[in-house]
């Protein structure tokens, strides 16, 4: 359960990226996450809510962009999505594979409410 620490990291990145006077306008933080990042989105959202609760960022929530785990076979260059954790090339059966995506854990963008936006 390291999602609390991760949530803290996300909060720090948001605080570094958004001007102080706009921090209360943060509504949504888009997080890109891969299945092999070791992070459970639901737990991360729970922890994030726990740390922003009753702060000026309490209207903010996380939005997840979940990526598939994709492998590239170094032998035959076949590119495919992992199913059932089978780390073998589905074209040639080779095991010399590289992970193209799946480990991501990134803050992509932050959405802010602006004056004039409907009740948010």
């Amino acid at each position: 359960m390291h999602e609390l620490g991760i949530a803290q990291n996300i909060l720090e990145i948001v605080q570094q990226s958004v001007p102080k006077e706009q921090i209360a306008a943060v509504r949504s933080i888009r997080i890109r996450v891969g299945p092999l990042s070791g992070v459970v989105p639901d737990s991360l959202e729970f922890c994030f809510q726990a740390i922003v609760n009753e702060t000026e960022m309490q209207k903010a929530s996380l939005a997840f962009e979940q990526l598939p785990a994709i492998l590239n076979c170094k032998k035959c260059s076949y590119r495919f999505q992992i199913k059932d954790l089978e780390f073998l090339c589905r074209s040639c059966g080779g095991s010399d594979l590289e992970l193209v995506s799946g480990r991501e854990l990134e803050v992509v963008e932050i959405e802010l409410a602006e004056e004039g936006d409907q009740i948010l």
């Binding site: 720090e12 990226s17 070791g38 602006e114």
Partner: protein, 218 residues
Amino acid sequence: MSVITIERKVLEKNDQIASRNRRLFSDRGIYVLNLVSSPGAGKTSLLEKTFQELQGSMGIAVIEGDVQTDLDAQRVARYGVPVIQIVTLGGCHLEAGLVQDALGNLDLKGVNLLFIENVGNLVCPASYDLGEAAKVVILSTTEGDDKPLKYPAMFLNSSVLIVNKIDLMPYLKCDLNVLKSNALRVNPALKIFETSCFTGAGIPEWCDWLRRKDASGQ
């Protein structure tokens, strides 16, 4: 609504410090292994057996990570090995910054092999680079042969798998072949050792591998 695009890795701070640690290790010619496992799989016992087998032939130091107590550091210190204990006070994994701080309190003179014994946990330590050359995952037979499939990130991110407590095989339902094939399904490049820290089985092979790593200066 307005949008600020940032595209930053959530763990970038950790990764930057890990890179600094890695540079320091490389400058000093220290080969660093990050030992990961669930609690009680035998990380500290493996270290004790390793010290006995190597008998001072390699310059070893240890960074111990635990939620509480310095019991593991005490065990390591009995072998005359320089050790520093990190107590995470509830933290479920080590981070690169904790290792960086610990390095400031550890005499690295003459050290060419550093073990970082992570907090016992098969989930969280997989996400944190500490600056190590490789992760070594220790899985004991009592945990069952399905664990590589249940905790894939740890096995995927490790270079070596040590299957420990093989002396208990006669009493368990765990199938060693199934365990190994499950591990290789997740990571076909895993180097596997089978050990018992009770009988000493497999320890010479593991230590030979360590000596070769040292000789190759990797």
